[in-house]
Amino acid sequence: MAATAKDTAFKAESRNLSPQEIARDLIGTAIITLLLLIPIVFYRTVMNQGTLLLQTRLPLVLGLTAAVVVGRLLLHLFVWQRAPEAGRASTASATRTDWRETVGKWIGPAMLVAAIFLPWIVQFIPGWERRGLGIAIYIMSYIMLAWGLNIVVGLAGLLDLGYVAFYAVGAYTYALLTTVYMPLWFGEGIVPWTFYIVLPLAGLLAALWGVILGFPVLRLRGDYLAIVTLAFGEIIRLVLINWFWFTKGPQGINVPKATFFGLPFADEPGSFSDFFGIPYNRLHFFFFLYYVILGLALLTYAMTNRLRRLPIGRAWEALREDEIACRALGINTTSTKLTAFAIGAMFGGFSGSFFAARQGFVSPESFVYIESALILAIVVLGGLGSQLGIVFAAILIMGSFELFRELGFLQAILPEGVEPIQFRMLCVGLGMVLMMRFRPRGLVTRRDPTVYLKEKKAVSADLVSQGHG
């Protein structure tokens, strides 16, 4: 068996599979897996009051298939494509580029598929039905935040340490409009719908704040820019704490949770489950939240991708590379920077109001500086400007935070009063230091060109400038 594997490995290496060939292979794999799984897994018999019922488990089948395909893809990329050690000088570099190219092409779609099926997949892990979803939602909202911040830091090269301010603006916009102003202006009937009305408003308001922050910082660079954005973030938080009659200060605000287009998630008439005639399950709300945040995150992703290919996005990147050259080419660097701040802030606002709708509670405690630092850490660890890297980094950082919650069993060997969870920041911080020591440019160190004539070649991160602030 081992010999065959090795044979295939060499064959794959010598044939140097192109992405198309790999795709064909993967489709084949998917079909075979499906065919095998349908008789084995798809049907399940359950005892129901003495009779056997046949149940279908399509999500599980699809999830397993996806897992197999992704696994095979990874094998293609990391195992079968690796050149033998001998003669590494020239061939290794060629193969390395090859598999990197392939990774770049296929890992994104693979992760998208995984993300879409994730809520169903976690249902089959006992004990994780809700927790798994909760973590997924949590990580996904950080991915979205980091994608938003990426526009400012990664593309335009402007270091922003106060991003959480826009998150706060979004959350408080949602909270205040939903609990106070919308009912005041339009009557209580509007409340179940506010999420959908306020979401865009929160984005716009945050964008406005982005411009307000943008103006003073336009001429600043480096440390100066960083400290002003940090100060801005702190100002927003301190105002939220102290402006009591408006924000209820440190007490926070209780907010009605989001609804499914007006249908609340509750065990009552007129609710989501009632409307669709299915038994009430608390998980419905989590499924709903997951797909909302996935949608929002994908919107961020798609829009960033689109913007990068438009003149404004190219101007952002050019600004990061060389501001003086930009000015010499007739680019108004002022408005270019402001749009970067505004659009980055807008996505912060979106995820802020999602946060409020998910938590059902907002307070200034959620918007401390360390949150900005965390989001920035995700962007930097992911590799500046790389959207894919951000996904990895968010999973790595936020996931390892969650992992520490699961380490309760270590309690047995640790001294009294020491809980592993207290060390999560320490360990993750240490991990970050090590990562940056060995991969100083982040996890994904390549930049995709936005336009090409003949062939799309990734740009190595060593050549990409990190901006001046």
């Binding site: 570099s93 390395r96 580029t97 190595s460 060593d462």
Partner: protein, 240 residues
Amino acid sequence: MSDILLRGTGVETFYGKIQALKGIDFEVRNGEIATLIGSNGAGKSTLMMTIFGSPRARSGKIEFDGHDITQLPTHDIARRGIAQSPEGRRIFPRMTVLENLQMGATVNKMAFFDEDVGQVYKLFPILEKRSMQRAGTLSGGEQQMLAIGRALMARPRLLLLDEPSLGLAPIIVKAIFEAIRELNASRGLSVFLVEQNAFHALRLAHRAYVMVNGRITMTGTGKELLAKPEVRAAYLEGGH
């Protein structure tokens, strides 16, 4: 053998995946001016930096004064008596001209500072006028002079000059080449010179190398190469 001050054998350097130097052999003897010519991107500046271990040679060996310096940290190499005026000048823009020169004298702990600074000012009088100005405000050519002056402040045994004539007025170019000749003649300073301006460089050199695509393709005395038709065709004429 101590006659040979700097010797490289089979030096290979990579930038990531790209091989910039493909097995270079070279030597600079005591009291000699050696020159390296070749077109842009041939790897000349890479060789200059590889001698300083930054980037480090992946294989091959570099010896200075009989000692293997291939694996030494950059600052140790500098302390052994090699100084460089690097590509892109790399003066310290937020220090004054004088402070830049002081930085150059770091290796000898400023022991001969007053004497050496006088020499540099004699060579480039404009630097004396600008000595209290911040180096970032100098014009490009003045920065070039400062970079060379700073390298001289170290009283090196071997001076590496990477395109000293870049961006300088013809009259200054002549002055700089004259200065190199003078330093070599009066102090026996060994010089390893990278030049685009092949004509001046070859005329000056006791030993010359032509580099194409990371390989040394021709070696000889400066005058031998100057006389070779292929060198003349590729690096000397064309503009006229």
